[in-house]
Subunit: 318 residues, 2 copies
C-alpha cells in the first residue's frame, strides 16, 4: 500500500511550504514508520497509490487516480477541493476532524465573542481616561449568540458558549439536538434565527446555498447593533453589504478571519475600518503533529473496509 | 422571623446605592413575599431579627445581634466582613455562591486569558500595518495556565479552561481533585507550581497567608515573560514589585480587576502603564435577581436546621 502526499498548488508554493511539508512527512511516519509515503510529484507508479492525502493540491490532477480508495484532505473545509472538476465521483473524500483543531477554532470564537460580550473595548477606553466607572453597558444575559453551522466545529463552539452561561442558538441545514442550544433548521427558520441574534458566528461550510449568505438581507434581520464573526469562508460575505450595514449602524462590528481574496489585498478597505477586526486566516491552522494521528487512523480504518471519521457527503458538499 | 438587610457603610453610601438596595428588597421579596424584611437602620426590635443579610455593612454593628442565627453576605469575598471586630464568634457567616456570579467570573478570566493566549494584540498590530502574516508567535499548547485558589470560583475557572484544551494547573491550601487539572497543594508545592506557570490567575481569598502573595519572590519563580491576572483582592499584590517585574521583563503583562485602593486613584501609575490592563472591579457584580434565590434558599435551610451553602470556615478565613 502506498500513500501519495500532495501539498501545494505548484512548485513555487511547494518550495515555500517545504518545512511544513517535511513536518507532515515526519508526523505521518511517526504514526507508522512502515508507511510507503510518496511526495508529489514523485509518486512512482501511480497504480500503486491507494490513498492520496491533499492540502491545496494542484487543480486537475485527480483524473489519473482511478484506483485510489479515498482522498483525505488536511483541512476542515473542502469547498476548494470540491470545485476541482477532475475529481472522480466514485472516490470518497475524507475531511480532517482533529480535536486540537476544534480547540483552536473554539478558542478563537470565544476570544472574539468575549471581546464583545465582556466589553473589552469599553473598559479599555475607561482606562485611557483613568475613569473608574463600574456601570456595565449591558449584562451578558441580555444578549444572544447565534451560531451558523452546527457541524463538527460549530457544534463544539455552541456547546462551549452555552456552558459558559451564554444564551446560544444555532442554525443548521438539517435538524440537530444539542443540549443547552436552541436549534433552528433550514431556510424556513433562518429569519426567525436571525431575529434573535446579537452576535452571529458563521462556521458554515461553503456550498452553493451558503455563498453570499452574509448579505444585506441577512443583516437586516439581525438585532439592531449586532456583531458578526466570520470563520467560515470569505465567499460567504458580501463585502459591500457589510460596509453599508456598519455605516448605517445596523451592525456595530465584524470580526473576520476569512476573505474572498487571501491574502487580503494591502489596499483593502477592511484593514483600516474602525469597526472591523481582521485576522489573517489563523482561527485554525492544521497542526501536522496532532492531525496525523487521525489521517493514519482513517487510512487504517479504510484498509479494513471500516467507515472513516469525517467522510464528506458529496451531495451536500460538506 | 425577621430579616435585617444591611447595605452600605454609612448614610451617604446608602443614598448613593438606593436603587440597588431597592433591587435587593424586590428580589428577596420576589422569592418569598411573606418575608419580614427590615432595612437598616430601621430594624425595629433587634431581638426579633433572625438573620442579617449584609453588603458593605457599617463597621462595629454586629455586637448587638447576639440572637441572630447567621450573617449572610452578598459578596463572594468575606475578608472585609471578617476584619470587623464586633463579629460574635458563635454566629456563622454564610457567603454567596451564585452560579450566575460564577459564570461572570469565569467569563472574565477567559476573556483576558484568551486575550493573551490567542495574541489579540499581536493580530491587532498586524492589522494596523495591513500585514498578512499567518505565523503565530507561539502555539497555545506551549503555555500553561496556573489558577491560584481552587474554591467555588477558582475550580470553575480551572475546569473551564481545561475543557477548552489548555494545560491547566491549580494551587490551593488544601488537597483537591479536579479532573483535567494538576493540583499543587500548600506552601511546600507553591514554588513548583509557579515554575510551571505562564499565566497566573489569582482567585485566592484574602487571608493573612495570601496578603502580599503576588510579590517579587513569587514573580521570580514564574516562567520568564509570564502574565498575571488578579481577580482576588488588591491587598494580595505588592504594587511596586509588579512594576519592577514588568520593567525587568520577568513579567510581560498584568490584568488587574482589584486594587489596594478602590476606586483606583486618578494619578495611579497603573492607569497609563502599557503592560497593565485595568478594569474597575467588574469581574463580577452580584446580581440581586439571581443571588436572591440562594439567599432565601439558605435562610430556609437554616430555619430547618439544615446546613447552608457557602458556610465560611472562620478558622481558615474563607
Amino acid at each position: 500500500m502506498a500513500i501519495g502526499l500532495v501539498i501545494g498548488r505548484d512548485e513555487n508554493e511547494r518550495k515555500k511550504m517545504s518545512s511544513y511539508i517535511q513536518e507532515w512527512m515526519d508526523s505521518l511516519l511517526a504514526q507508522d514508520p512502515q508507511l510507503d509515503l510518496r511526495l508529489y510529484p514523485n509518486l512512482g507508479d501511480i497504480n500503486e497509490i491507494d490513498f492520496i492525502v491533499v492540502l491545496n493540491a494542484p487543480t486537475g490532477i485527480f483524473k489519473e487516480f482511478t484506483h485510489v480508495k479515498a482522498i483525505l484532505t488536511l483541512t476542515a473545509g473542502v469547498d476548494s477541493l470540491l470545485s476541482d472538476n477532475s475529481l472522480l465521483p466514485h472516490i470518497p473524500i475524507v475531511r480532517i476532524e482533529d480535536p486540537f483543531m476544534a480547540d483552536d477554532i473554539c478558542q478563537y470564537a470565544l476570544t472574539y465573542v468575549l471581546q464583545y460580550m465582556k466589553q473589552v473595548e469599553h473598559w479599555h477606553n475607561l482606562q485611557k481616561h483613568h475613569d473608574w466607572d463600574r456601570r456595565v453597558p449591558f449584562v451578558f444575559s441580555s444578549k444572544t449568540i447565534g451560531v451558523m453551522g452546527l457541524g463538527y466545529l460549530g457544534k463544539r463552539v455552541a456547546v462551549t458558549l452555552s456552558q459558559l452561561g451564554f444564551t446560544v442558538n444555532g442554525w443548521s441545514q438539517s435538524p440537530k439536538e444539542i443540549p443547552g442550544v436552541t436549534v433552528y433548521t433550514g431556510q424556513d427558520q433562518f429569519i426567525d434565527f436571525l431575529q434573535h441574534t446579537d452576535i452571529a458566528v458563521c462556521l458554515l461550510p461553503l456550498t452553493l446555498n451558503t455563498r453570499d449568505i452574509l448579505n444585506k438581507n441577512t443583516f437586516s434581520h439581525l438585532k439592531k447593533g449586532a456583531h458578526i464573526i466570520n470563520m467560515g469562508r470569505g465567499e460567504q460575505l458580501v463585502e459591500e453589504d457589510l460596509l453599508a450595514a456598519l455605516d448605517s449602524g445596523q451592525l456595530t462590528g465584524a470580526t473576520l478571519d476569512v476573505f474572498r481574496q487571501e491574502p487580503l489585498p494591502k489596499d483593502h478597505l477592511f484593514w483600516d475600518h474602525p469597526k472591523i477586526i481582521v485576522t489573517p486566516h489563523i482561527a485554525s491552522i492544521t497542526n501536522p503533529r496532532t492531525a496525523a494521528v487521525q489521517v493514519v487512523e482513517n487510512i487504517k480504518r479504510m484498509q479494513k473496509s471500516e467507515e472513516p471519521i469525517g467522510k464528506v457527503d458529496l451531495t451536500q458538499g460538506y
